[in-house]
């Protein structure tokens, strides 16, 4: 994409835009045509079979790796435009040029990422057709119309995305809102693509719209099955978090490689904005996750128990470890960032209670329900269930812990925001007291319902988690609603010294990006793995040699390898974008 800045608003930019969009459309058309040809050739050349086997990697691992990489790049190309649009809107609202530059810098990365996403998608399609012909034919019999819709959406997405990039400089100033509109279209198109693809994936988990003999009865019912919307929302939020985290990691790399204080200041700020958006989107993510989990249980208790209490439950401990570490990293990054804010030292004393809450929350979250124990330990406990620690292994405790951790992280953000500012309004004391009260009441509601939920049936307990979430969200809303007028016209103690942050803070940003990616891989495996020996749960069995659940060790090795490959590819995208940028 690498075009220069300051393109005039008439003549060449229009030609360049049309050429650019045409190139994008041509590229996608060639890829799709090649995929079609490859699939046709393979179908004709290979002997007819329900399954064919791929040497070396094997069917399942090959599809797994390509599908996960495709999904990660898809998350990147869906997440980055959301991130770019948010920063662009902030830039327009605050009239700060640097936000616009930041949005532009990341949009530059999209072309290469789109290409990689499309290539991986095409390879995946060929793999499905070649290795799982019977299953793919069955899916096609139900979802063929959506495949055509998907094609239309792909072309639409390519066109608006290229338009978004090429019109960047032409649609500035008074015409900025038109550019924002194109940005919105990019995101709407992207979201539509996500929703269509989710229909296929979720149908495999919670099939609907088919009769007892598996014949399609309703495409709409098949697409809008029980887990469709929860996954849509979960992935949408996760994509924003992911886009922000990748942006922050990119900024961290540029910060560490910077030659001048000016560059360091720029990338320090960029890392902060990226992490802010990532964590902002990350905070409601567990709530969307609960919804998805609940729908899975409702569809099939067997699948739900496999996921949370059965064979896959230990992977949730890994998930808890990663998410807990994310909370740690986010808070530590903010606290380190306070060092570059004159006046930030006023809030250092809050770090002790905040770290205490985070650590206790993390300990509760990481407490396994099924404890691994030696024979002697089991004899002492009377089984694999510890009479005291077992209290922390259930959702009642974990919901309480995660809500308190979210509240603490929110508080860190708010204190950071207040770092160098002293409110000057006459009602400062009352405002701060109301804010403290909002947080305390929310914490009280969370802990109160958490304890109470041990004494009520499951269905009531699940309802309580909504009250806990609502209390946290209301407290956040009240806090922010007071904070905005409170800090209006606030006295500044000093200017934020962007760039004056210890280098180790940048590793927290790397950690955010790697953890988000790792989580996507791990959670994706759990979601897919709980189908066990079914292609389509309860309906179409996997009759291949791969119809078994891997050991956790092998599965997590594959997940981790995918994360490594993804970061190698992303680094290549960054390197090429940097090279293009330097050419200009």
């Amino acid at each position: 994409m690498g075009v220069d800045g300051g393109v005039p608003a008439s003549g060449p930019w229009l030609v360049r835009t049309i050429t650019g969009v045409w190139k994008g459309v041509f590229k996608v058309s060639v890829m799709l045509a090649m995929t079609y040809l490859a699939a046709q050739l393979l179908s004709a050349a290979l002997p007819a079979a329900d399954y064919r086997s791929l040497p070396l990697l094997g069917n399942r691992t090959a599809v797994w790796i390509v599908a996960e990489l495709h999904l990660m790049f898809a998350a990147f190309v869906l997440g980055v435009p959301i991130f770019a649009l948010i920063t662009e809107i902030i830039g327009m609202a605050t009239r700060e040029r640097r936000y616009d530059d930041l949005a532009r810098e990341f949009t530059r990365l999209l072309a290469m990422a789109y290409t990689l996403t499309a290539v991986l998608g095409c390879v995946l399609l060929v793999l499905f057709l070649a290795l799982y012909p019977k299953f793919t034919t069955y899916m096609s019999s139900i979802f063929k119309p959506t495949w055509l819709l998907y094609l239309v959406l792909i072309f639409g997405e390519v066109i608006v995305a290229y338009l978004y990039w090429y019109t960047w400089d032409a649609l500035q100033g008074a015409r900025k809102r038109w550019h924002i509109l194109i940005g919105l279209l990019v995101n709407l198109w992207g979201t539509a693509l996500l929703f269509v693809a989710d229909a296929w994936v979720t149908f495999m988990m919670s099939p609907a719209g088919i009769d007892e003999a598996n014949n399609p009865t309703s495409l709409w019912a098949a697409a809008t099955n029980l887990t469709w919307m929860p996954i849509n929302i979960h992935r949408l939020l996760a994509n924003v978090a992911f886009g922000g985290a990748i942006a922050a990691a990119y900024a961290a790399f540029r910060f560490l490689a910077a030659d001048s204080d000016e560059e360091r200041a720029r990338f320090d700020w960029m890392g902060y904005v990226g992490s802010f958006i990532a964590i902002g989107a990350f905070i409601p993510l567990p709530f969307a996750g609960y919804w998805l989990g609940r729908e899975i249980y409702q569809f099939s208790e067997q699948m739900g128990v496999s996921m949370m209490g059965g064979g896959f439950s230990w992977l949730w401990i890994l998930q808890a470890m990663i998410i807990g570490s994310l909370f740690f990293a986010a808070n530590v990054y903010l606290w380190l960032g306070m060092g570059r804010i004159p006046g930030g030292e006023r809030y250092t004393r809050f770090q002790v209670p905040m770290m205490l809450v985070l650590t206790l929350g993390f300990l509760v979250w990481a407490t396994p329900r099924s404890i691994i124990a030696t024979g002697a330990e089991m004899a002492a406990m009377g089984g694999s269930h510890h009479p005291f620690l077992g209290l922390f292994g259930v959702m009642a405790a974990k919901n309480t812990a995660v809500n308190l951790m979210i509240l603490t992280t929110f508080l860190s953000f708010m204190l950071y925001r207040r770092g160098n500012r002293v409110p000057t309004v006459s009602w400062t004391l009352a405002g701060k007291a109301a804010q403290s009260l909002a947080i305390l009441i929310a914490a009280g509601v969370v802990v109160g319902y958490g304890v109470y939920s041990y004494f009520v049936p499951s269905i009531v307990r699940i309802g309580f988690s909504l009250y806990q979430v609502a209390a946290v969200l209301v407290a956040m809303a009240v806090f922010v609603a007071i904070d905005i007028p409170l800090l209006k016209g606030a006295r500044e103690i000093g200017v934020i010294r962007w760039g004056a942050i210890p280098e180790r803070a940048q590793y927290a940003l790397f950690f955010l990006a790697i953890s988000f990616t790792w989580l996507m891989g791990l959670m994706g495996y759990i979601r897919s793995g709980i189908r066990q020996y079914w292609h389509i749960y309860g309906r179409v069995a996997d009759e291949s040699a791969n119809a078994y659940t891997m050991t956790h060790g092998d599965a997590t090795l594959i997940v981790s390898s995918i994360v490594v490959v993804f970061f190698l590819l992303v680094s290549a995208v960054f390197a090429m974008a940097l090279r293009d940028g330097r050419k200009v």
Binding site: G324, A380, H385
Partner: protein, 254 residues
Amino acid sequence: MVRWTFALALGLWLAVFATLRLFIIPPAPVSVLTIYMTLVTVAILLFVMANEARWQGFLAPPRAVFAGRVSRPVQVTVLAGLPILVGFVAHLRLTPTWDAPFEPRVVHPQPPSSFTIQGRRIELAALTNPLRSDPAALDQRIAEGKTIYYRNCFFCHGDALAGDGPFAQVFRPLPANFRDVGTISMLQESFVFWRVATGGPGLPKGATPWHSAMPVWQQFLAEEEIWKAILFIYAGSGSTPRTWEEGTADVNRH
């Protein structure tokens, strides 16, 4: 205060370790203790790192040791002591013991989609307790379930339904404690029915070893008797079965 950061961090770590080791009864298994102490170590280190003054204060003592700014005996003690400590821990971890190996047992086995009871195939997803359909007769059914419980289940699961019957102590793991919020109150009645009807031998092979001594109760009790006993264990333990909103089961099947 900052100059004592290292000592405070070390002291805190030891205090937490001692608390977890001594005050959790029965003792926390090593696997859990390892998770906890790893997290506590990370938390302490991150907290120290999160502030420049604290971080420098924390680094000062180790720097002094390695740069030779402390007395020779202190330097020798630390530099020789650390490898000895690591070696000792490695020795403890590697020394063979007579203990049985770790067992990655999960609390809730995953139920099958269908199973056979007295020659009849039952789909678990659609299964509900038929005795709940007549609320007027519920108390009577619970009373009958109580009799069945005391004739068959009491010996292991106990008078108070707390998994502490007269035979309980000979089993590892102990029989289920129905008063524990993590047992039957987390499960649908259909799950409990499957567990009672098929017993230990009916557990899935996917996550062995189970070591469940639960008999296959369908060989001794009629289907309705099992449902009655289930009614009683919920009523008697003061818990209620897990349920979902009405109507959702139908949605799932289409």
